[in-house]
Each structure stands twice: as structure tokens, then as C-alpha cells.
């Protein structure tokens, strides 16, 4: 897809979309949204970039290995944050009783482990969308050239 208009508009829009996605992830405990919605927005912005330019340009921004690493790392981070509570003598995935500092309700760094959970889920979902799309497109290219 070699379209100048699409590329210029995409170059303008993508940073704002990613900023909004990060905002939705990090403010999940303050405003509507959270890990799933924000991660989907970030992943959709990367997919949009790879669609408007091409797969190589998208891979240069976020390579396959880093995307896979983020995907596994998000899930592992979520589970490790749950194990912290077990180390402190509470149930799995406990927040307040395990002694996470709750802070002042309404501040960005409040509500203890919910912030970490949201960020981990956001990384996981966003990189999942990216990885799936990259692999689908890449597979189709290889498929077409082999025929």
C-alpha cells in the first residue's frame, strides 16, 4: 500500500493513539479502562503502523523477539506480583492484606498492586495483538512466494 496521504495521517495519529493507550493502562484504577482496553489500543496502533507502512517498518519499531518477550513477560509479571503476596504470608493475588501501600485514593500511584496488574495485563494484551498480526501477515507473504 503506497499511499502518501495514508502514511502522513498515520504518522500524525499513531503517537497520540499510543499515548492514549498508555494513559488508559496506567490510569486503569482511576478512570474507565484498564489493562485489557489500553493494551488493545496500543496493539491496534502498532497494527495500524504496520498496515500503513509495511511489515519491515513495523518490525523495526517493535521486533518479533521483543514482542514475544513482552507477551510472556506480562503473564509472568502478573503471576509474580501474585506470588509476592504469598511470600508475605497471604493468599495468592492479595492486595491490601499483603501490605501493598494503598496511597491516597485518586493519586496515580495508589491502590497498591492494581497498578502493577494493569500494566502487566496491558503489556500482555498489546503484544499479543501485535504478535498475532505480524505472524498472520508474514505467513501470508511466505505462502504467496512459495506458490
Amino acid at each position: 500500500m503506497e499511499d502518501l496521504l495514508v502514511r502522513i495521517i498515520c504518522r500524525l495519529v499513531v503517537p497520540f493513539v499510543q499515548l492514549y493507550g498508555l494513559y488508559v493502562i496506567t490510569h486503569g484504577h482511576l478512570s474507565p479502562g484498564g489493562g485489557f482496553a489500553g493494551g488493545a489500543i496500543v496493539g491496534a496502533s502498532m497494527i495500524l503502523f504496520a498496515l500503513a507502512f509495511n511489515l519491515e517498518a513495523g518490525s523495526r519499531k517493535l521486533s518479533h523477539d521483543i514482542s514475544l518477550l513482552m507477551e510472556s513477560g506480562g503473564a509472568i509479571g502478573f503471576i509474580l506480583a501474585g506470588f509476592v503476596a504469598m511470600l508475605l504470608g497471604q493468599n495468592f493475588l492479595t492486595n491490601k492484606a499483603a501490605g501493598f501501600p494503598l496511597g491516597v485514593p485518586g493519586n496515580l500511584f495508589s491502590s497498591g498492586a492494581i497498578f502493577f496488574f494493569s500494566v502487566a495485563i496491558g503489556f500482555k494484551v498489546g503484544s499479543t495483538m501485535c504478535t498475532l498480526f505480524y505472524n498472520l501477515i508474514e505467513g501470508s507473504d511466505r505462502h504467496r512466494s512459495s506458490e
Binding site: G28, H29, G34, E71, A75, F117, K124, N135
Partner: protein, 115 residues
């Protein structure tokens, strides 16, 4: 409307199953049409029996939701009650969702990379 919905639907499904094996004819068309009308009437009657949308006497309005709305800020420190529920009260469910995503992409990648 005092219809035992489950019995009525069971009879309807059985009758439709019998109609399915009739030879194709004008009679079968008419019977299927009548059957569809009865099924549609049963569905609409069931929906009409449901409690009013958003009424205060509905089953979800119990002590669980009051507990979540009143104690969420104190228990978790999050002013968004939905985030408090899905990542603190029901965090194990969220872990299940993450596992579902992980399994889905693992299956998709293993299928795509195999070719």
C-alpha cells in the same frame, strides 16, 4: 403469562425435530411456519416476563454490589470500582483470562509456524 417455559420449549424442540424428517411438501412448509410463529411467541412472552431493566427489585441488586460500591475504595484504594473488582476482588478470574489469551496465541502461532 403463566407458562412453564422449559416444558413448552422442550415440546417445541421435539416437534421441530419431527418436522425435520417429514418429506418436503407444502404441508411441511405450513407446519414449519406455524412452529416458528409459536417459538417466536414463546421467546417474546419469556422476554416480557423478565423484570424491568434497571429496576431496584432485580436479583443483581443484593448485598454483593452494595459491598463492592461502598467498600471498594477502602479495601483496594482504587476509585474505579470496576478495576477494583477485576484486578483485586476477582484477580484470579483475570489470571484465567490472561491464560486464555496466552493459550490462544500459542495455538495460533504453532499452527502458523508449522506451514
Amino acid at each position: 403469562m403463566e407458562v412453564n417455559s422449559l416444558t413448552a420449549m422442550a415440546i417445541l424442540v421435539l416437534a421441530s425435530y419431527i418436522f425435520f424428517y417429514l418429506p418436503a411438501s407444502r404441508l411441511r412448509g405450513v407446519l414449519v411456519l406455524i412452529m416458528l410463529g409459536i417459538i417466536g411467541y414463546a421467546l417474546v412472552a419469556t422476554v416480557a416476563e423478565m423484570p424491568t431493566f434497571g429496576a431496584s427489585a432485580n436479583p443483581p441488586h443484593n448485598e454483593v454490589y452494595q459491598r463492592y460500591l461502598h467498600q471498594a475504595v477502602e479495601d483496594t484504594g482504587a476509585i474505579n470500582a470496576i478495576a477494583a473488582i477485576i484486578t483485586d476482588y476477582r484477580a484470579f478470574d483475570t489470571l484465567g483470562e490472561v491464560t486464555v489469551l496466552f493459550t490462544a496465541i500459542a495455538a495460533a502461532l504453532s499452527n502458523l509456524k508449522a506451514h
